[in-house]
Every structure is written in C-alpha cells, then in structure tokens.
Amino acid sequence: MNDVAKPHGKSAIRARLDAEKWDKTYPRLRAFAAGRCRSDAMGADLVNEALARIYAPDCAWDPAKEPSVERYLMSVVNSLRINEITSAAVQRNVHIDKVRHAAERVRDDAAPVDEVLSREQIYTRRITLLRARLAEDANALRVLELALEGIDALADIVVATGWTPKVVAAARLRMQRNAAAVAREIGGDDEIALPREDDEDDEEEVA
C-alpha cells in the first residue's frame, strides 16, 4: 500500500484531511446533502457517515483520481443516499402495472408487459419514454440524441451543437428532469439521483 492510500499517521490523505477547512467544507456538504434528501436531518446523517468513511483506515478515496475532498465526499453522499433508498425499498424490478401504464402512453408491441422486464428492456423502455417526453423540446431531445452517440460532456455538446454553454446546460437539465419523471413513472432507483421537476432555477433557455 502506498502512502497516498494510507489515511493514518503522516500519510498524504490524513494530511489533506487535517488541512481541510471543515468549518467551510462541512456546511457545503450539508447543503448538498440536504438538497439531495430534501431534509437537513437526513442529509446530516449521510454527510457524517461520509466523513467517518474518509477518516476510516480503509478509506477508498484516491486523490490521484479525485483531487477534491468536497467532490469526493459529495459522491459518497450520493452513493449512500442511493444505497439507503434501494435497501429500504424493494423496487429493483419494474412491476407489471407500472410498465403497462407507461406502455399505454408509448406503444411498443415488442415490449412484453406480462412479466417483469429484463434489464435491457427496462432501459430501452426508459429511453423510449424519455424521447416521447422530449418530443416538444428540440434542444433537450438533441442532448439525448448526442448522449446516445456517446457525447455528453458539456464542452463536447457545445461543439456539436454550436449552442452557448448556458443553452446546453439548460437543455441538459430539462432532459435530466424528464429522465427523473420517467424513472418515477416506471420505477427504478435512479429517480433519486436525478433533478426533480419542481426544483428551482429552471433555465428555459433556447438556442
């Protein structure tokens, strides 16, 4: 084990943690977590657990891969949140009723609705529904089409579309919110990782 991976003693990680201004970092983490959980109390639990993990001997943080403590801890909060939800709810499979309800809106005779869908079918259905939801939003639909081609970095989308970064960010946010709506509609754990439609600061920029 190299020094960077050892969080104790005089290791690089421990030195980084000791140098961190927690009176500034911690409130930002709490703001992030409260937003994800929509509850300060729940968010606090996740942030405290994330901090306990980064100080633990078997801490998984690799500063070479993610130099920012804040960004790393926020990703841990995200993981904890997802784990919390998925372990609490038995929603790993998409149930027939939800799928049938969704399928009625976008017809696809190839999609079986008389059984729990396979993983591949679930994702195909999600993308189909997302496309349908974005039919009236050309920019967001274009962002989705680019994602299908493997282009989803903001800078790459700017180049591919010729739009401003602000327009791209707004279109992507609308696409993400519609993805959240699809996840909510047909079930799945990803919904909690996606922005909600009723979030504030919705950008309605168009190209």
């Binding site: 084990m1 409260a34 509850s39 405290n48 100080y55 633990a56 591949e120 993308i127 989705l144 959240a180």
Partner: protein, 147 residues
Amino acid sequence: MATKRTPEEVWKAIVKGAEDDEIDRVLAMSDQEVDAELRAHGGDPEKIRREGAALAAKLGADADRLAWQFEAAEALAREQARLAARPKKYDAVPRAELEMLLAAARTSPRFAQPVAVMFRNRKTEEASDDELRALLEEIDDLADGNE
C-alpha cells in the same frame, strides 16, 4: 470518435451527468449561497459550521487512537502475502513425511519453541495435510531468517 451506446449506458450516463451537475452547482455556490441553502432546509449555518469542525476533530482523534490496529492489520497482511508468495515445497509430500519433518523440527533447538507454539492447543494428528504443509513453510521461512 463517439460510439453508439446501449440504452443502459445512455441512462447511466444521464444519471451520472445529473449527479455531476448537481455537485458542480453546489461547489460553485458562494458561502452566502450555501448558508441560504442550509436555511432553506431548516438548518442553522453557524451551528452546522461548529458541528463540522467538531466532528472532523473527533474523527481525527479517533483515527489516531485506532491507528495501531490498522498498522497491525497491514503488517499481518504483508506477512501473509509474503508467505503466500514463497515457492511451495511440500505440495506433493505425503502426510507421513510431513509428520516426520515436523517431528524433526520439534527436536531442533532453533525451532522447538515456535513449533510448540504452533501446536500449543492441538496435536499434530489433528492438523490437516494442508495445515502441516503451511507450518513447514513457516518453519522454512524462519530458517531463512524471517523472524
């Protein structure tokens, strides 16, 4: 060159993008905006600031206190890995010969004590063939000067 993704890959990219965007949004906030966000969720920024500093100090102190456990576990893992990497001399040796070799080790002034420790709670005949082989490997390791 971009390649066509599967629906699952696209969906996961969308989710990952949303997570990254939200992290970027919060990281870009000013301290005042962070405070406002905390208040919007019913939090007290000043109290939270104090909690953060206190928690980090406590976790650091706990880590220092328990550091020896981590170091001991690491040392044990290193030792086990080193032993596991040794060439296996006894894989094809039959049990009778393994027992003879161990009996010889018991009479050696150098190895009698460590072998006695290895068998302090059990008899040789209670050990499996693999356990006897592992013990002989350890004795060889001691003989090589790895005390």
